[in-house]
Every structure is written in C-alpha cells, then in structure tokens.
Symmetry: C4
Subunit: 361 residues, 4 copies
C-alpha cells in the first residue's frame, strides 16, 4: 500500500531519508537538544499493552467519529507541520487533497509554503488552521480572519513555543528556506521570510523576532473573541493546563510536546494522556500527537482517553516519497492498521476502546 517498497511507516521514513536533502530530512526528523523526548514519544507507546477482548462481533467495523462536531472517517487527522514544499513540489496542496480523499481533517500549519485560501480551495474536506500569536497582533488578527474567510473550521493555537526549541541538527545545517519558498500566510504581513542566519537556525531567529513570548491565558480569551470557529489549544502536558483551557473557552486540547522539538525532557505524550483525559472528564475533546507510527498506537491513544490522534512526520515522509499519493497512503495504512487492530482487540466502534483495554509496563 505504501510507496517506496515500504511495509510500514518506519520503512517509509527510511525511504524518505534516501530521497530528501539532508537539511530537509534533518529539519523534519530532528528533536530538541539530546532528542530524549523525540525518542520517548515513540518508546512510550511500546510500553502500553493491549489487553484485547475476544469473541466480540467485529465483522462490521466503524472507524468514523466526530472531532469538534465534524464527522471524519477515522480518528486519525493530519497534524500541522511546516513547509511541505520542502518535501514535494505541490506541498500543502498535495497534503490537503490527500486528507480530503481520506475524509479526515487537514490541520494546516500557519508556517506553510502555501496560503490558506489555496489549501482550502483544493480541499473537499474540513481544514483546521494552526497558528501562533505574533508580536504583531494586527497581523495575527488578520491571519485569523483570512483563515476563517478561506473556510478553516477550527483554530489550533500552539502554546508550547514561546521560543523555538533548539534543534541542533538545524543549527549545524544552518536551516533556512531555499529561494522561492516562504511562509505564505505571513508574506502579506511582512513576516514571510525564514532567512539564512550565521551560526544558527533561521527558523529559531524567525521565532525570536516575530512570535510573542508574553502570551498568557488571557490571550486565549482574546483569540476566542476575534473568531467564530472553535479553538483547540495545542501543546498541553499537564492536567491543570487542560483545566485552564476549559476555563478559557477552548473546545479542546491537543496533548503534544511538539514532536519532541521544543523542551527536551518533556514527558512522552502517551505518558500524560490518561491523567489529562481524567482531569478533563469529557467536558472538552482531548486529541494527541507524538510518536504515533502504528494503528495499534492509535488504538492505545483512544483507550487512554483521546478523541483522535494527529499524524505529523509520517505525512512528510509520504509526501517526500510519492507526493499526494504518498500522504494518502500513510493515512490509508494507518486506517487499515487501526481497523485491523480494532478487529483483533474486539472493538467494533472507536467508542469500544475503553481504558480497561490498556495497561502500562
């Protein structure tokens, strides 16, 4: 099903590594500092065991669910990741078409190489828009307005990045966008360039200059006030912060440590999901990303209390190896693996993935 002769997403990553320039592969693959959290995100899923049920009628399986009231064909969404045109010429357009064909949500990064209007235009399905709050609040508000006007049906505010995490591979590679690629959504506001910097990552410099590290929960209320669409707060690892998200009008949280790219030493998302889901008690939706590479990981996340998972890097590997079809193959592989895992675990519906299905070692 996957391109590049890959049987699974780990093999697909290897195929992508062979095709991509090192500067791009490293940008996508790397984590902050010693990459402890990067590795832990994947390792933590392996420590969760699936105590499957037998003799449940799983002949008709239904993977569909809703996220923020939107029906999706499966609890697997496209996570916001930056700069898809580094992976393939069509960039985010390819991703959006793939998500749409898979009947799931595309969450577009504000740091895309394609404007949100173009992405929404090619997508036949729901598009969410991820954003940061810029020091330039006017630009931020304009960005929200543009995203809404384009048709984005939810905002995803990333809150784990008052500064950019230090990814040493990018520092060494002096990561920057090649000529011709920009942050399209911010170009009009004059924040489009991620330039080459001496002795550091250009993206880190971009963050330090432009993003607002003074952001607080009050700004979440402000953001709520300038948009009509639901708001997700992404980057939560603490139950108390999840409760604050409820208090400030969020419709959901994404349990995330930014794929291990921000604070190295953060706990694996799989390790904090259950306490957060328990704190939230269903009042808002809890999504998760981080290290999900198998359908069994998705089933574990659902059992630990997630409404859905977001898939980041594997989409990029799919784009790198086969463009839109590659991204779609990633989604369909995970769908197939989740379907398979649900059958073997005695789950006919995603709501059958309850906490008793899992234990942690």
């Amino acid at each position: 099903m996957l391109p590049g002769g890959a049987l699974n997403l780990v093999e697909l990553q290897e195929a992508a590594r062979e095709r991509l320039p090192a500067i791009t592969y490293d940008y996508y693959a790397s984590g902050a500092h010693d990459e402890h959290t990067l590795r832990e995100n994947e390792a933590a899923w392996a420590r969760v065991h699936l105590h499957y049920r037998v003799l449940v009628d799983v002949s008709a399986r239904d993977l569909s669910t809703t996220v923020l009231g939107t029906r999706v064909s499966m609890p697997i969404l496209v996570a916001p990741t930056a700069f898809h045109r580094l992976a393939c010429p069509d960039g985010e357009l390819a991703t959006a078409r793939a998500a749409s064909r898979a009947r799931t949500v595309m969450c577009l990064s504000s740091l895309s190489n394609t404007g949100v209007e173009d992405v929404c235009a090619v997508s036949g399905g729901p598009v969410w828009f991820q954003l940061y709050v810029y020091r330039d609040r006017a630009a931020t508000e304009a960005l929200v307005a543009r995203a809404e006007a384009a048709g984005a049906s939810a905002l995803v505010l990333t809150v784990d990045a008052p500064l950019l995490g230090r990814r040493e591979r990018d520092v060494r590679n002096r990561f920057h966008l090649p000529d011709g690629l920009r942050v399209e959504n911010l170009t009009a506001a004059g924040h489009g360039d991620v330039a080459l910097r001496s002795g550091e990552s250009g993206l880190a410099a971009y963050f330090a200059e432009k993003l607002d590290p003074s952001l607080t929960w009050k700004d979440v209320a402000w953001l709520r006030s300038v948009t009509r669409v639901p708001l997700l707060v992404k980057g939560i690892v603490r139950p108390d912060d999840a409760r604050r998200a409820i208090d400030h009008g969020a419709s959901g949280v994404v349990v995330s440590n930014h794929g291990g790219r921000q604070l190295d030493g953060s706990p694996a998302t799989a390790a904090v999901l259950a306490p957060i889901a328990n704190a939230v008690q269903g009042r808002i939706e809890v999504l998760i990303d981080g290290g999900v590479r198998r359908g069994t990981d998705v089933l574990k996340a659902l059992s630990l209390g997630a409404r859905a998972v977001l898939i980041g890097r594997p989409i990029l590997w799919g784009l790198a190896v086969a463009g839109e079809d590659g991204a779609l193959a990633v989604l369909e592989t995970l769908r197939h693996e989740l379907d398979h895992a649900m059958a073997l675990a005695g789950c006919a519906r995603v709501s059958d993935a309850t906490h008793d299905l899992v234990s942690s070692a």
Copy 2:
C-alpha cells in the same frame, strides 16, 4: 539429546534456520508487525524468578498430571501450529507419533497438511483438534464431526484471530503453500487452498475470505451443542474473558496471544497468567503457550497457575532438523529440563509448584 548438535531449544532454532527455506523459516518464526509481543513472550519468563525450596525429598519425581481428565506423562503438550509438511515430509504424522511416544497430547491444527483421520490413526495417544469457525458453518460443523469421528478427544477453539495478524515477513515473502500442500482438513469443503497472492500473505487472504469475524460467545455455546468432547477456548489474555469462558461451558482456556502473531502490543502471556488463574479459581483448567523454551519456564508457568503448557515453534524446529525424532527430542528435552528444575526447586510433584515459588521483577 537434541539433533543438529544443539544443547537447547535456542540452538535448535538456529539449526532449523540453516535447514529451512527462508519463506518457511520466516512463516514459522515471525510475529505480527514490530514483533514486540513475540519478543516479550520470551523475555517475560526471564523476569520471573524461582525461589526454590531446599531439603525436600525429590528422589522420586512424578511429572505426570491430567489435562481435561486425560492423563499425560508431563504438563507439556504439543501446541497447534499450521503446515508441518513445510518442515518435513511426514508433517503432522511425524508430530503425532512424537507426541504419542512422549505420552502427551498432540493438539492438531485445523490448518494441517494432513487430515485429522490420518493423524489420529498413527497416534497412540490423545489428539485434540484446534479449529476456527468458518463463515461456512456447515463446513465448520462437518469439521467438528470429522474430528470427533476420527477420535479427537477435545476441541480447541482459537478466538484471537477474527482476522489474521499481519506478519510483515510473510507479506514481503508473499507466503503461500507450495504446490501439493493444502489445508487437508478443509479440502473436502472447498477451503483447502492457501494460494499465492499479489503483494500480501496468502494466508492472510485465506483468513479474510473464509473465517468468521462475527463470532461471539454465543457461538461458543453453539459449538458446545454440536460436540460431545470438551472445549478449550484459546487466545485469552483477560480475566473477564476467562470468566466468560466458564459461563459459556468451556472446560478450560489457553492463555495465549497466538505466539505474538496476531495483535502486536498484546501483553506477554507470562504477565497475564496469574491474574487469569486467580479469576478462574480452579473452576476450569488454565493452559498457556507463548515463549516457553526451557523447563524452568514450564515450572514458572505451573507456579503461576497453569495446568500445563503448550509448545509451538520448538516442535517445528525439531521436525525441520530431524523429523519425528526431532519433535520427540524437543519434548524429551523439555521433560528432562522440567524434571531437573523440579528437583532443584524442591518439587516432587507438579502440584508442588505453588505461587510462593515465583516472584516477578
């Protein structure tokens, strides 16, 4: 005692690997997906420690026991595994003769290359018959009737396989049965062929087409109604499912995750045996398979509450290296090792293997 210069079952596996075609070795050896559960099954036994007793008279040791009322010379049975003619020309006939010579139970897989009548005919001892429930219930019922008529003294219903687990080595090898080999027990019913499939495992396709994923506990009652012999439910990893087996008339359960070949991420069987044995409280018999490679593993299983263990892959390695004599050597090696372990642990009888003998680290 073992053929191929092997001193233990791990060395025997290596000897078999050298002799078998890769497609066959991989089919026998592999587990699902990332093979976490495959490895965990073996590793979990090593985390159980034997707190041996001293100064017990172990001069006369009795390894015999009963399983489902049948006396066996030791609590070590032959697990159902498919396609023995891939390992040696005599296939399941060799296995049955070996089990009979070892005075233990041969549990014949329904996916054998030899019909149950022929297997029972050459066996001088008890034969159990493992089966799946086919979409074609008439064929299933006919199969049960054949097995009973042939002399099978128990049915073993495998319940962890509504679909076949994805074993990526088999996908890569495009596993299928070579010309001349079929699922003999199903040939009459038209379900005998495991054909070459493009881009996948032929056995996975066979399962998807023919087996019934709608099976529930009610079907266990149905199966009870069409047979006179005792029924074991194989593939249990949860205490509540073990209790359901009691409620639906099973005579026993086999704690099993199908040798790590079905749902990767399932717990090691050694890790769930004690809670299941505790839930069952002796009302039915609890057997176990998965990763048993030493007599000390058998002793640990007995101490954790198992009535007996079933041996899968090592039998195949014995067949591959030396046919019937090889399979017998596997059983006799385990007998010898168990006898030895019992002597050193202060157990004169298998009933002396009580829970205080073990701790887990």
Copy 3:
C-alpha cells in the same frame, strides 16, 4: 557559542579529549572504580521529566538569584575542581576571569595550581574557597586565614573524602603533577607536592598522608570558630547529614558525590536532592553538583529544591579548548540553555521552578 565547533557540552568534552594528554583527560574525566556513579549522575537527570506550563508570560526572564546572600546572574556556579593549569597555561586565573565575566561565583579548589590571593586578585566577582581539613591543623587554619584575607566570601568544606576515591585510570596512568605544577595554596605549609608514586595515583598518596580521616561534625564547629565567612558542607547525600549540617552551623550544603570520584555505588545526586531539600525545609541553602550538562538539568535541579548548581568538568573542557573564553562559553551556554528551558517551561523567574514541574520515571 562554544569553541571547537561544539554545539553542546558533550561535544565540547570530545573536543577537549582530542586536545589533552591522556593522563590529564583521564584525571578529569574518570570516576572511582567501575564508574557506576559517574554514569548514574548524568543518567539520573534524563529520568527526570519536565512537565512544562504553557501560556505564562515569559517575555522578561530573570535568571538572577542569590546564593548565601550574594547576588549572582544565574543559579549556575563554578564548582571546585583541582589543577586547572593542566588544562591551560593560565589555569585558575582563566577560570576566575570567566566566572567574573559571567557574574557568578567561582569556587576555587584548595588543590589549585594558583594561590587564592592571585585568583581573588584577578576576579571581579565573588570567590568561594573549597578546602579539606589537613592532619596539620595549623596549616589548615592558616589556609582559612589566607583565603579570608584574600577575599574569599565563603568556605566550602568537602566532607566526602576522608581518603581519595580510587580512580583506576589514574592508578594505571600513575597520575602526578608535572614538573612546575604544585598545590600552590599548600606550598608554604610544605604540602604542595603531588609526586609520582610507584604503582598508584600520586594524588591518592597525597590524601592518605596529609588529610585527616578523623574529621567529625565537631570539627565543623571548630572551622566555624576560626572564620567569619559562611560555611558550606559539600558531599552530602543523606537527609540526616543535611540536618546535622544545620545543627553545626553550616549555611548550606552541597548535594554531591564528588562527581562519582569517591565512593562508587553512591546514589546519583539527582536521586537524593528532593529528600534532602525536603528535610532541610529552607532553613539553609541546598546546592548540587553532579552530571549537570544541559540547561534543562539546571531547571530540573531547581525544581527538585536546589538553590543553584555547580558545574565541574565542563569548565575544564572549556579551559582545555579555549582557556578563559572557553570556560566563559560553558557558563554562557548553560545560561542560554537555562533561559531557553525556563521560557519553554513557563518560568519567568527561578523561583517559578517548583516541584510540580518535575516527575521521575
């Protein structure tokens, strides 16, 4: 920021290893016996996870704090380590200038190749003086007087070394000071030479001959009586010893196992910090050293209850690669990493690093 092309302190160590004679590198790098504690010191930080807070205003971060009433620009101090002239010609003078430029405390080892007067003279900032108690108490008292007269503003009594730990690399290398280098602070008292010894470490012989293994808490009171400056007791791993330090007039303790160079098998300092901080209840200050290599390690230490951390070996690697500028670069790198970690963890001030920020796995 770091010299030698290093992006972090681990890479800097490698650069230093390439530049230093093996006898010096081994002396600096090695731990006692099997180096279990040496490795554990670093590994233990990795087992502490940072449960960062989001949406805290971290636009203005203040890393400054006080230690023993002295304001420092950050909670990162220079630990006392011996023989800096093995690393670079300026030795401790380079280190003192670096600490001063970083506006933090230089803790000078009594086993320095430079006299305390010279060190204090070049330093524009606070200098603490580490010492051992010699069998020759007159020499000890004179040493205290000299240090005070020179301007040292605190004494740091090392209590984990009644004998020198056996560092087998030094035994094999027959570690000794090369011609021209002495223990300058003790030369006047006739204790300046660390000579070549047959079949052992010269420093171990020095300790056995000169230092007093009969030292008890009463001697702490004596030391308190002969000095006007505050006293820190360094080498504590037990809560009860920390309480004894309070009872005997210490102003603080340093949780330390001497960088794994004394008793191999000692617990990692990260593992005992929280119980010690809890026992002390803020009555005196608790500092820590051992395995701190990242700003996140510093943040973990603060969260576990430390007032500040002391940095040992990395300073030596900085000296070895680039002298004073190298040592300064180590301090500035850690400052930058701590600042970054605080921003990402939602800490605007060091007092925001509270216990709920960390968990241990």
Copy 4:
C-alpha cells in the same frame, strides 16, 4: 597489588582466562543453562546504592569480626569451590595458605583435589569443611569424622544440589578431571573419580550417581547428631527455609544460589538477603555468596544483614594467575577495597554497616 597487571577482580578474571585451558576456565566461569542467574548475581549488587555518611571519625578502622564465634580479620571468607589443582599445581594447599595469611576462614570443598588433613595441616587458621550427603551414608559419616579429626571447625552443608545444575559449557566440553586428579576426600570411600562421560558433564554424572536427592531437613538433624562442630546450611534463598534452618539446629545459613550454577532463574542473592536477614532476626548468622567482586559489594552485603561474604571464583582466578600469592592478592584487594569503602561510607567498624546505608533501585 593483583598479579597479571590487573587493577581489579574483573581484570584478573580476564588474565586467568588467558592462562587457563578452556575446559577449566569454562568449568569455573560457567553457570547453569542460559546463565541468567550468573549474570544477575553480579548485576544485582550494582542496583544497591550506598548512602554514605560523612564526618564520622574513620581514622582507625576495624574490619575484624567473628563468624560462628571465630575471629577473622575481615568479613570476607574463602567460599568452597571444587578442584583447585585445575588452577595451579598446589591447588587447595595454596588456597589454605593464602586464607591463613589473610587471617580468615578457608572453607574447603569436599570436592577438592587435596585431602582435608593436608589442607588443615598447612593452614594456620580456621578451616571449614563443605560437604554433600552421599547416598552412601557411611561414607558421608566417615567424611564428617575425617574432617573433624583433621581440625575443621565447622561443617557447611550444601543443600541446593540434589542434582548438579546443567552447565552447558561443561556438557559441550565433556568436562572431567584429567588423569591424576581426583576427589581426594572421597577416594578412600570409592567415590573419588570424576570420569569422562560420553555427551555430558562427568561431574553431573557423578552427582546423579552418588549424591542423595532424598535429603530433607531431618537429615540436617542427623548430621547435627554425628558432629561436634557448628553446622551451616548453604544454598538458602527463602526466608521460610532460613527459619527451618534455625529449627533444625543450624548455626547459620549461607544465602547462595551456588554461583548461578544450579537452578537458572533463581533470584540474585543480593535480592533475597534482606528478607532472609529480617526473618532470622539475628538468631543465627547469615552469610552470603554470589557475584561479590568489589569491596563495595561486601559493604552492601553487610548493610543488608550479612555477617560475612564468601568469595568463590575470584580466588580461582588468583590461583590461576599466581598460585598462593594470587589467591592472597584477591583477599587483600577485597580487604583494601572494603576498608576504603568503609572509610568513604563513614563506617569505622563492620557493625556500622546498617540497613539505612543502602537503598535498591
């Protein structure tokens, strides 16, 4: 201090491996089956941490203690191990002289290549005699009488070997005693030969033929009745068995799993020492062997409740590399390391090694 250029006992083992024939090295070094317990014995000590005390007067350290009322210069004894003439020509005579020079107990194995009379004759210190109970009780009783007459001051009954553990290296090597070497203590009774056997270890065959696997606690009482000297029961891993030893008149127990050579999967001795010491409550003495390779291991054992430790394999490596002087060097190295560890841990006497000094991770 050690011969062969070794700085510690691990390096000494390597030096011995280079000098010994493989059949001998393997016999000494190997453990049963997969050697899990062999490795665990050493690994378990590393998981015990030493929470050292500071500012204790350790200027005068006293390592002496008593075992079974006999004063020894340190709590480190020579464990009974078989066949010392495989290591050096003087065999057990060399060992006895070394133990005597170290002023500690030599525990002579009944499976020695030298008669107990000769060993006692050369020894200036206490000799204990280890024995098994033979099927031939007359020979056993004669052996006890001989040992007592020769001057052995205690008997050490090994109870973990109703059969010999299967050491696969010995099976592969067809271990046997070379011409000219016999079990001298049993030669008179006709049990002196450990012959070459086809396809197995000669020693395993010897055990199966000659030793009595029907031994029970009643036989301990019998043994008590035929001797005047104190009796130690060696091979205990359970608190209840330690209490039975008290009830049957033993003066002490040795917590031991026979160096991992009997039942593989037994717990590490370090892991069961504390519960056994706690069960015994000082009514009899608790000794321990297994994996002790450092003075810190000895200190850990004392802190966990042991009266003394017995050293097995390292003595053999000393003999192999330098005969009597080599064995002595092993004892003196451990003495020096223990002395050093006590100084660094704040223990002036062995009785200062109390339970609060250790924690296990």
